[in-house]
Subunit: 371 residues, 2 copies
Amino acid sequence: MGRTERNWSSSKGEAGGRAEFERGASAEQSRLSIGLRDVARAAGVSTATVSRAINRPDIVSDELRTRISAVIDHLGWVPDGAARALATRRSGAVGAVFPTLSHGDFARAATALQRELLAENYILLLACSEYDPAQELRQVRKFLERGVDGMILVGHAHHADLPGLLRRQRIPSINTFVFNRDDPTSSIGPDNHKALAELTQYLVKLGHIRFGVIGQSTTNNDRAAARLAGIRDALGRHGLAVRPMHWGEGLELSSVTEARAIFRRIMKASPRPTAILCANAYLAVGAELEALAMGLAVPGDVSIVGYDDTEVMSELPVPITTVRVPGDEVGRRAARYILAQIFRRVHETVFECDAQIIVRASSGPPPRRAK
Amino acid sequence: MGRTERNWSSSKGEAGGRAEFERGASAEQSRLSIGLRDVARAAGVSTATVSRAINRPDIVSDELRTRISAVIDHLGWVPDGAARALATRRSGAVGAVFPTLSHGDFARAATALQRELLAENYILLLACSEYDPAQELRQVRKFLERGVDGMILVGHAHHADLPGLLRRQRIPSINTFVFNRDDPTSSIGPDNHKALAELTQYLVKLGHIRFGVIGQSTTNNDRAAARLAGIRDALGRHGLAVRPMHWGEGLELSSVTEARAIFRRIMKASPRPTAILCANAYLAVGAELEALAMGLAVPGDVSIVGYDDTEVMSELPVPITTVRVPGDEVGRRAARYILAQIFRRVHETVFECDAQIIVRASSGPPPRRAK
DNA sequence: TTGTACGCGTTATCAG
DNA sequence: CTGATAACGCGTACAA
């Protein structure tokens, strides 16, 4: 007759037996998986006590606690999260929607996030928006239906319905990889605008006056847009600007191959730029590889700088100057913020992560005979 | 006292008003978020009808369906996933535990996984084991408590308690990035042993007889171990073996920097190998960069091959021969398998993904005067 | 086609 | 410190 989970565990067996009798055999047989009740009966205690034994061990007598946990192990009981969530009004899950995981920074952030949540017994629900606000909204909605206790997003530009949705659910949320004191929802990350303004400023100080940019799409990517604006504003302060012919945008998010082609085109212009700003690590790698292939000296003929740091950048023949974004720190602190909100602890609301400029060999003064 | 289960809703508005009145303000005010009942009352129908309207729209009359969905939108109701899961005995979530996300293949697999699950309205719970079986077990247990409907793991070597745990929960699971007909649980991925045996065989055919290996740790990494075994077995068939001095293992999982140091050491040996097998993409990149820095010709002086394909490998001065692992395909098909199991559809059980050898310029015949 | 009423497996309240 | 029992919010036989 299939699985009879009866362990009328002797001691207090009387009561257990009676209960069983009263509930009738049907209840017992229909149960496919063991539950709290089965554990309670087997241990000869009430369900409440078992529940307490696992959630607040300190308020249960030693004897019962050990007996109960023995029974749990023996029966191999795994508490039902759905039931617990329903009773607790808390899911123990935090959702995160990243544009993609193929970017090292996001992958690192997701890892850190997950690790940090785990420390407080929380789990991570993960989805990718693929840089599509509508998809982001769908994913968030799905997470809300799952009852996530908090949401972690990227950027501060979202679908118009998203903020209201989040507000109605009354769950904490945070925008990551951005920093903006004016954003009403908390945010954590580097100040993208400032970071690239400073990087540009650094190049200007070296004496550069003609700049090329290998960018990435800014549609639905406020971080990329902010970085571009940072470049523009920094150059503007010196009365400079990027010429259209010194500008290229990849279709892929970060493609070494595309970057090479764009770099080659830009460097064929006349006059040609003496410094190339690349929107991310792999674009910079592509630029340098193409420069080497073209026989250009870096930084003798042209300086190359990037954004994001990957190990390859520092190991290429000419290590590349770049901006280091601490993805894991972003993830870690975002998780901590959300957990603090969930548990109603005090916590700061907005954080800026330093985006540190790492100067390597690929940047230097412009060539003297800058044609 | 307390909550009365009465939905005296006779038909339509009248009833709505009355019901509201009779329930009294207290019940209304104490409810922090609106629920199925509120929607039902506002729409003047029963809770069952609302439930059906969203889950099986086809069996509800057009009029009611439209009215109900209007009310839902108006009230901004989000169904409670915990309650639904409790009633349905299905969580709508699939868990995945990867060793890390910093590996491109795993990141791609996770992305594909998530996308595929979403198509069937499932969500992804993600965690990292950091190559620690105990941690993997903990994460899996946590997911099971969350009531995941399926589990996706990496490799076939797990903690001893894991298989039993999964069996007891009666949920489908699959091992990814491995392929082994003898594994009792389904698996999907490349045959790591075969892939490296073939790659090695290819080098042997080119005439190489002295091989170096830049490996990664095989502790808790059955894939890496299988690949190593593949190399060993392939060489063994020709009476060859890797000399200890031609062997190095990085501490980091994949570090360009470490690879360079190891490569340099190996190439100082005498005699030195004419071909270097690298355990992953970044180790191979490091090897080539160091070779160039040392003034060695690739493949003139030494052939270099890797495992995994990243864009950089193909764009370096000498594009690197490697084995392409289709991470996204692994993720996609794993998701499909799990969903099929959940929905009790027929589906194949074990799949092999081709691990394709991509021959590029970095591999060629050994130098004539192979010293 | 629609409504009623009960069950899902825990937690929390309150009385002992 | 422990036990009895009412929520928790939705799905779904079963009845109408």
